[in-house]
Amino acid sequence: MSKRLLDQQISLIDHLATGAVIFGDKVDTPEALVGIDAGLLHLEARFCHDKRVGKIAEILPISLELLGGHRSVILREFVEMCPPVHIGRLENARQFRDFLRDRRRRTRREQPYVGDVAACEIACAEVRNGAEGHSPEVADDIQTWTAIRRSPVTVLLRCAYDVRRFFEDGRFEGDLTTAAPRRETLLIVARSPNKGQPQIFELTAPVFDLAAALDDWIDPAALCLTAEAQALVAHLSRCGLIEVRR
């Protein structure tokens, strides 16, 4: 195909991803698209946008709810600043989370904890995606372990606000009208062995640091764990947060 076709295609996709086209404002049609009905381009753009927002809403229902009356304005700003680059739900949700964080830094508007809520929702989705069929070995007797690591289907999060009350069994349960308290909160999102949905656990700083250090398999002897720490690791293993090899 000629270079001209790719130019036409780039022009079309850029046009369809433009806020003015999506939201039906008056806009000039690019030269490459002259002859195509502007109303139909608007409808196509609307379909694409609705599909993209639908994907984001599947992953970030609480975050979108928290935006309340500002939601449509924020979504429009998102469209203008973040063109679609991926077909996937998680990728679009991550793009929106990054946009929300950046917007908060720029404008100081909206609830300051929305970015943390979005991070938790994405972590829950990642855990849900990865957890099925993952059956780590659980063993109490640490003397038999040759290696340990943090479960690969966990996500560590460092949040500026305590947003846990918005989540119960990975679903929205909280009251939107009450603000989340500002408090650095160290979280791990995981699917505990007996629970269907991802769980969000708060960790103390030492446990968070330990979990962060266990990205890959490590001989527990190398950690020089005290008896108390060994009991803790055994407990984390039973919770599905740490995997062991014997």
Binding site: M1, S2, K3, L5, L6, Q8, Q9, I10, L12, I13, D14, L16, A17, G24, V34, G35, I36, D37, A38, G39, L40, L41, H42, L43, E44, R46, F47, C48, K51, R52, P83, P84, V85, H86, I87, G88, R128, N129, G130, A131, E132, G133, H134
Partner: protein
């Protein structure tokens, strides 16, 4: 006597439990390859387990064969692996483009229907066929707008590519119905123009009418959210008189909780498959007068 087509539904993980419990209602499941490639471990496990219990066919949404850049061979390798894993007898994709470098609209867009564009797609279809071991089928998409430089009809464009490459056609009957309604052509003439045997699989679905202040009229949209319309079923019955697809797949992506509608649609498809000649002349005449 021709074998009856297998009748089934597109696998949707959101209702996986219900689908597993109702496998007896379907002869075949259509798996969206990209869901297996990008989806969760749970989705892949369920699909691969189901492949041991029911025949599957493979459908793609991520190839973007119409984009004017070389085809993504790594993606094709991933497709081939899934096709092999689920033992699919065919792999289908849309005759469309969804992305350009750096942008992915994730929505099927038409390409200009010209001989030059057809030539480029023919080369890509050959690449696909050399990478994926099973027959490759191209699907007609629904489109809201037409490129002004198009010179070929929908049917001629599809026929040209399929004839030159040996690819089959996945005929989406709902898309044909929507395009005919939105763009004012006779879908029965389109079906008459297709050579017998070119259609190897079919899609059916139910869409919605969309109105907008910027549009002069309501447009039909391929929402995969409603029961199949009678017009689409009439077209299906008519198409079955000349074509012998191996599978007819019901596509449903929205209002998935209305599972009874899925079973009812499957029964309505089976009824048309059993009696494709029933009322054919009447159906054709009535549909033509409606158009």
């Amino acid at each position: 006597m021709r074998a009856r087509p297998a009748v089934g539904v597109g696998y949707r993980h959101a209702i996986a439990g219900w689908m597993c419990e109702h496998l007896d209602s379907f002869d075949v499941l259509e798996v969206t390859i990209d869901h297996c490639i990008h989806g969760s471990h749970a989705l892949r496990s369920t699909v691969f387990d189901l492949a041991e219990r029911i025949p599957m066919t493979a459908h793609g949404i991520g190839l973007s064969i119409g984009t004017d850049v070389p085809i993504d061979l790594r993606y094709l390798d991933e497709v081939a692996a899934v096709v092999d894993r689920i033992k699919a007898p065919a792999y289908s994709e849309h005759l469309a483009f969804t992305r350009v470098p750096g942008r992915d609209l994730a929505n099927l867009l038409p390409v200009p229907k010209t001989e030059e564009v057809a030539e480029a797609i023919i080369a890509k279809v050959r690449t696909v066929r050399s990478h994926v071991a099973v027959p490759f089928l191209l699907e007609n998409i629904t489109y809201l707008f037409e490129w002004p430089d198009s010179t070929l009809s929908d049917a001629d464009f599809l026929k040209l590519i399929c004839h030159e490459t040996g690819a089959g056609l996945l005929l989406d009957i709902e898309n044909l119905h929507l395009n005919a309604s939105n763009h004012g052509f006779d879908p029965y003439i389109f079906l008459d123009e297709l050579p017998p045997g070119i259609v190897q699989e079919m899609h059916v679905a139910g869409g919605i009418a969309v109105r907008d202040d910027l549009l002069a009229k309501a447009y039909l949209a391929d929402s995969h959210s409603q029961p199949i319309s009678d017009q689409t079923l009439d077209l299906l019955a008519y198409a079955l008189n000349r074509q012998a697809p191996s599978a007819i797949i019901l596509e449903r992506d929205d209002r998935l909780d209305a599972v009874e509608e899925i079973l009812e649609d499957i029964a309505r498809i089976r009824a048309r498959v059993a009696n494709p000649r029933f009322g054919q002349a009447h159906v054709k005449a009535a549909a033509r007068s409606a158009n």
